[in-house]
């Protein structure tokens, strides 16, 4: 896991620079997200690793696949996209495409100064509550916040906000756990 990240980082940086120069960060982001998802699919990487195939056949297969999945820049029409795929195949690194997509997103978020925050709550949040949380987080983290919500009834009440490594746990369950440890002490 850690190894794939180490391998993916320079590829992501390179493709990010390419995208940035071409002013196509949004397009590349969408394309890589789809491609990363496909590559994470079980069996695909194993199929590509079959010794009966040569790199040209693999490239043909992938561009065909990406064309169907609306991954526009990698369907063979864009020269840079095709070169990127060729390079990955040549180096035998096609399997790290999901990690490359992840690092690409992280780099994009850094440049755009935006953070994705996941708010997990026990019951559905109203639009006002969501906005309120987004505003408070923006003030706290000093960057734009994209809030997505999840529901987890196990929290009993309250909410857990997760933005990158930072977690703000205001759930009833966490408070009960805290009470339990304080009683044991």
């Amino acid at each position: 896991m850690a190894d794939n990240n180490t391998v993916a980082r320079p590829y992501a940086q390179a493709i990010f620079d390419v995208a940035d120069e071409a002013n196509a960060l949004g397009d590349w982001s969408a394309t890589l997200a789809v491609a990363g998802q496909l590559l994470a699919e079980k069996g695909l990487v194993e199929y590509l690793g079959a010794p009966a195939l040569n790199d040209e056949q693999r490239l043909e297969f992938l561009t065909g696949l990406f064309a169907k999945a609306d991954a526009d820049l990698l369907d063979g029409s864009d020269a840079k996209g095709t070169n990127f795929l060729k390079l990955l195949l040549e180096n035998g690194r096609i399997a790290v495409l999901p990690e490359i997509a992840e690092h690409f997103e992280a780099l994009k978020a850094k440049v755009e100064n935006s953070v994705e925050a996941v708010v997990t709550s026990a019951s559905p949040l109203s639009k006002e509550q969501e906005k309120e949380i987004a505003r408070a987080l923006k003030a706290r983290l000093g960057s734009d916040v994209w809030v997505s919500t999840e529901i987890d009834e196990n929290l009993i009440g309250g909410a857990v906000i997760r933005a990158g490594d930072v977690v703000i746990d205001g759930s009833l369950r966490a408070r009960l756990e805290g009470l339990a440890t304080s009683l044991i002490k």
Partner: protein, 513 residues
């Protein structure tokens, strides 16, 4: 402590009422692998080196490897309940242990938790386990003695307050015995002792605790125990925890004595942790920083000047110097002092007491090799009377060893040589001392005086031990006032010499052994 059921519910009620849940932003990561007490954590990008990490179920760990995508940490204590996917929180604190007077007389683990069943430790003070040693400006040279109560050590390898004196030897040569005798002899001297047991059998540690209790030496002693069954991380940090507890006394302008028993096992524990963290192995598979492991620990043993004490105590303690004396113990394999860890620690310390199994088996206990044992700074701190009288003993032993080798071949020896041999034999005999029977300065001085002035020469070799014992009893019975005076001043002058001479002559006349 028996509690009634109603009292328990009141206690719980109190706890619930006083419980304050705070919501705070925490850095959180995820466990990706657990191997032999080492945990690899994804995330925690802001963790600091040596920071305490919180695992589920009130378990703590220490961040040791900060890498690009992961953090390597050791779990302090049991790790069997930690599994992949668990969340880990940073605490923002460097590992700390409780310190203070309340720890005296207690047995604690490496984190300062009591393990002697005597209830919680009532102290509000705590200190980080890793501290930078006092700098050049704060230090003062060693000038006061630590009396071990062992004739052979106090006369030949004296130890001063703030010194680091290594005790080195094979297994079963009495290393721990020397250390325990030294602790026992600190009764009533004001020196607070810390005994750090690393990787020892729990039964041995229990034995030490019981012995100290019997001898009334537990009241001034803190025992930090990381037994063989404790995790290597606990064994690795135990000496640092003990040093922090000792530094409390140093910073207060008092004197402390810390014993690390033993650093070989600590180095083994650290080697295990390092290898599991995939740090590159070096000589004997130890990691590259095994020298620093011990040097930074032993540098913390020091003597600090009055200004430092005044600054640290906020002006409350004035005109008092503080000290922490360290007696690290190293176990050698087959007398090999040139192995990696022994050479390291020898070079760090201010001298060593070398114990030999041959001597031990020959009945010379403590089994100190007088030739290889040295104290590089203790001479300046030695009590005057012992310094004056002990010089002759060292010389007599050195000459004896040299001659003894020749004398095996020579059939007839001249009178002077024979006299030196006979003296040497008796002095060797005189340096024997039973365990748990430390001697006062005056008793030691009396024995050394008897040897120097030839009072023991007519005594048969196998009677020297009995002679010495009877001499001490005789002095205690007839000259208690003189003994007290010598113990109080520690000086040596013509009057003292005359007193000692008087005792020896009276004993030669009237005493029996």
């Amino acid at each position: 402590m028996a509690l009634k059921a109603s009292e328990i519910s009141t206690l719980i009620k109190e706890r619930i009422e006083n419980f304050e849940a705070s919501v705070e932003a925490r850095d959180v990561g995820t466990v990706i692998a657990v191997t032999d007490g080492i945990v690899r954590i994804h995330g925690l990008a802001d963790a600091r080196y040596g920071e305490m990490l919180e695992f589920p179920q009130n378990t703590f760990g220490m961040a040791l490897n900060l890498e690009q995508d992961s953090v390597g940490a050791v779990v302090l204590g049991d790790y069997k309940h930690i599994s992949e996917g668990d969340t880990v929180k940073t605490t923002g604190r460097i590992l700390e242990v409780p310190i203070g007077e309340a720890l005296l007389g207690r047995v604690v683990d490496s984190l300062g938790n009591p393990i002697d069943g005597k209830g919680p430790i009532e102290t509000d003070l705590s200190a980080p386990i890793e501290k930078v040693a006092p700098g050049v400006i704060e230090r003062q040279s060693v000038s006061q003695p630590v009396q071990t109560g062992l004739k052979s050590i106090d006369s030949m390898v004296p130890i001063g307050r703030g010194q680091r004196e290594l005790i080195i030897g094979d297994r079963q040569t009495g290393k721990t015995a020397v250390a325990i005798d030294t602790i026992i002899n600190q009764r009533g001297t004001g020196i607070k002792c810390i005994y750090v047991a690393i990787g020892q059998k729990a039964s041995s540690i229990a034995g030490v605790v019981r012995k100290l209790e019997e001898e009334g030496a537990l009241e001034h002693t803190i025992i930090v125990a990381a037994a063989a069954a404790d995790s290597p991380a606990m064994q690795y940090i135990a000496p640092y925890s003990g040093a922090s507890m000792g530094e409390y006394f140093l910073d207060k302008g008092e004197d402390a004595l810390i014993i690390f028993d033993d650093l070989t096992k600590q180095a083994w524990a650290y080697r295990q942790v390092s290898l599991l963290l995939r740090r590159p192995p070096g000589r004997e598979a130890y990691p590259g920083d095994v020298f620093y492991l011990h040097s930074r620990l032993l540098e913390r043993a020091s003597r600090v000047n009055a200004e430092h004490v005044e600054n640290v105590s906020g002006g409350k303690v004035k005109g008092k110097t503080g000290s922490m004396t360290a007696l690290p113990i190293i176990e050698t394999q087959g007398g090999d002092v040139s192995a990696f860890v022994p050479t390291n620690v020898i070079s760090i310390t201010d001298g060593q007491i070398f114990l030999e199994s041959d001597l031990f088996n020959a009945g010379i206990r403590p089994a100190i090799n007088a030739g290889l044992s040295v104290s590089r700074v203790g001479g300046a701190a030695q009590t005057k009377i012992i310094k004056k009288l002990g010089g002759g003993v060292r010389l007599a032993l050195a000459q004896y060893r040299e001659l003894a080798a020749f004398a095996q071949f020579a059939s007839d020896l001249d009178a002077a040589t024979r006299q030196q041999l006979e003296r040497g034999e008796r002095v060797t005999e005189l340096m024997k001392q039973k365990q748990y029977s430390p001697l006062s300065i005056a008793e030691m001085g009396l024995s050394l005086f008897a040897a120097n002035e030839g009072y023991i020469d007519p005594v048969p070799v196998n009677k020297v031990v009995a002679y010495e014992e009877a001499l001490h009893d005789f002095a205690r019975a007839n000259n208690q006032a003189d003994i007290d005076a010598i113990n109080a001043s520690g000086d040596y002058n013509d009057d003292v010499a005359a007193t000692l001479k008087g005792i020896c002559e009276a004993f030669a006349e009237k005493g029996a052994y």
